[in-house]
Subunit: 374 residues, 2 copies
């Protein structure tokens, strides 16, 4: 049996409105309120690639994600703790979420051995050997000091039932160990639901994680190769079981389409590297679809990337100028496209929230998705 491990005053979720499955709320944290639904830009190494922290303030970012695996390896969580924690180290005074390192250990690093205790892996930077357990993941995340920290989980391939069953059960035992290891009251631990593409496993996992009574819950292991209908079906199964009065975080998602569709399914928080990664590959995310700004057709195009966009990039520069920067391999193209792409997702979640509160989410979502596909 679990008892609430966080003082209610520090981390509370207010559900302000519901429209069908879609929810609008506010998640209160020690570093500020997070209006939901919300998209969290990813600052893997303590920096949202190519943006200054002032850009993030101007973009009205409300929650930034950082990666425990990366910061553990470089510059090291002890160094970050010695510098006053991640907020002070990266000069971001708003809410931060760190993942557990689990996903990176299983995807980026050379994983050497997984057992009940934890994972031995080799660094992708220098090949050095390291060991992560639920306890070390929590210790590292406590050193980093984010507002929201994640339980250490085992990530399985989505279609292997036997592996998903064992990984899910281990993820549950590890979540209990994370909760037991946690010492800081100014951090909220979120559990992670696993179970691949198997509805019964997802349901069992959601029930187990919900029963931990944590201040928030996450859905992991999606958007990793399964189909969209499978992803949506898993979210549906899980959200029917997760409590209404806690935020629900869908990890590693997504695109504008994903945001609209998954808010409809009751998701509150998203994160994804896509806006900054696409920016470095010359692509702009817009409300009408993706635009490759390097295309020759934009060479003399005086219009902004999106004529309705209010971001700094679109208010300042033409497609022709951005295309020139890309052709000339100038760093500024990545900065300008990152500003635009993150704005697109943050502006979208803000409009989704307004629509939910106004009670016209369904018509907004239908119009948006139809426009997106045109």
């Amino acid at each position: 049996m679990q008892t609430p491990e966080i003082k209610p005053a520090l981390f509370t979720f207010e559900l302000l409105a519901q429209d069908g499955g879609a929810r609008a709320g506010v998640f209160h944290t020690p570093h500020g309120d997070i209006p939901t639904p919300i998209f969290a830009p990813v600052g893997t190494q303590g920096t949202v690639k190519s943006l200054t922290q002032r850009h993030l303030v101007e973009l009205d970012a409300k929650l930034i994600l950082a990666n425990t695996y990366h910061l553990y390896l470089r510059p090291g969580d002890a160094l970050v703790a010695g510098m006053g924690g991640l907020h002070k180290f990266m000069a971001w005074d708003g809410p931060i979420l760190t993942d557990s390192g689990g996903f990176q250990v299983f995807s980026l690093a050379n994983t050497r051995q997984v057992d009940e205790d934890g994972v031995i892996f080799k660094s992708h930077i220098d090949g050095s050997t390291h060991r992560f357990t639920p306890e070390t993941s929590i210790a590292v995340q406590e050193n980093l000091g984010a507002d929201v920290i994640m339980a250490f989980d085992e990530c399985a391939e989505p279609y292997d039932r036997a592996y998903n069953l064992s990984a899910m059960e281990r993820t549950h035992r590890w979540a209990e160990r994370c909760l037991a290891a946690k010492t800081r009251e100014d951090q909220a631990l979120f559990g992670i639901v696993q179970g691949g593409v198997f509805p019964d496993l997802r349901a069992a996992s959601a029930a187990f994680i919900a029963d931990l009574n944590l201040p928030g819950n996450a859905i992991g292991g999606l958007s990793v190769g399964e189909t969209k209908p499978e992803m949506h079906a898993m979210i549906d199964v899980v959200n029917a079981i997760l409590p209404q009065d806690k935020p629900r975080y869908l990890m590693g998602v997504g695109t504008p389409q994903d945001l609209v569709e998954c808010v409809d399914l009751g998701i509150d928080i998203f994160d994804c590297v896509l806006p900054t990664r696409l920016a470095r590959h010359h692509a702009a995310m817009t409300d009408t679809g993706r635009v490759n700004v390097m295309n020759a057709q934009y060479a003399r195009d005086e219009r902004p990337i999106s004529e309705t966009c209010t971001c700094y990039t679109c208010q300042t520069h033409s497609r022709a100028y951005i295309r020139h920067l890309i052709q000339a391999r100038e760093m500024l193209s990545g900065t300008l496209l990152s500003i635009h792409n993150i704005h697109t997702l943050l502006n979208l979640t803000a409009r989704l929230r307004e629509a939910i509160i106004a009670g016209n989410f369904t018509s907004f979502a239908r119009a948006y998705l139809s426009n997106l596909k045109s």
Copy 2:
């Protein structure tokens, strides 16, 4: 015989104060006033590398340099003209100066043939063959539309007297052809003094260029391998001849030390790629010398790069964070160091100007240089 080719109202230089050889003034241009002495950040390809135009406004940059050779090759000056000119294309509404392309043709490109008419060269980008003459340089610069444009010159090795004599004489003939080719009244053409390290050639060149009665004059062919005493001697010779009532632009210089020493010799305008190039190589320019922020000693250093600096980088971030960004190969390190380095030079020229106006330039300069070397 020459007649003034620019309406006085568009380009005038007001000399506000002199302190020894040092001068404080204002150069009026159609896109704004340039207080002198001033340092101009270099935006080679229509972007000051890694900075948004808003960063430049926040840095209080008063004059930006762009390179004719680079913009001619990519995206092409006709394209820039079609987009409304360089100010509109790069979204920089302040004064811009373009060089003539001469220096790049002789240094970057594979120069195939120089004759009285001009230069045939191969592009450093794709090896294609191009021809620049004084007339094409002016035509390209008129397409780009900068406020200040430069005469096309032949750049020689500083120590070869015979070559410097012939290159200087050709530079003079080309300057006359540039003046004759020029058609736009909203652009100021500056002539360029050449002559290597030879005082008599420099004096002859200064006299010739001064006689063209252009709205400003530049000194080229320095900081290209000669010694500091040689550079200073050449500036001294030239500035004794160039008119007092026109701005004097020392091309491609410099360091904080250069700025102080050359303002003392009567220079008004500087440009250099150093602040942004050093930034990309992890070095910070400070009032007390250069700092390589990658050094291990800064790993846990909570201080800003410079404790007296008022730039965004120093007001926001520690040495430890910037070192982490460098180690992690994050683009943001280049942006933060570029902001700091350009601020250092702009702040220095602003303080030099104040000191000249206050009549204490000599003591300011002595204290600054002594601090710099300590």
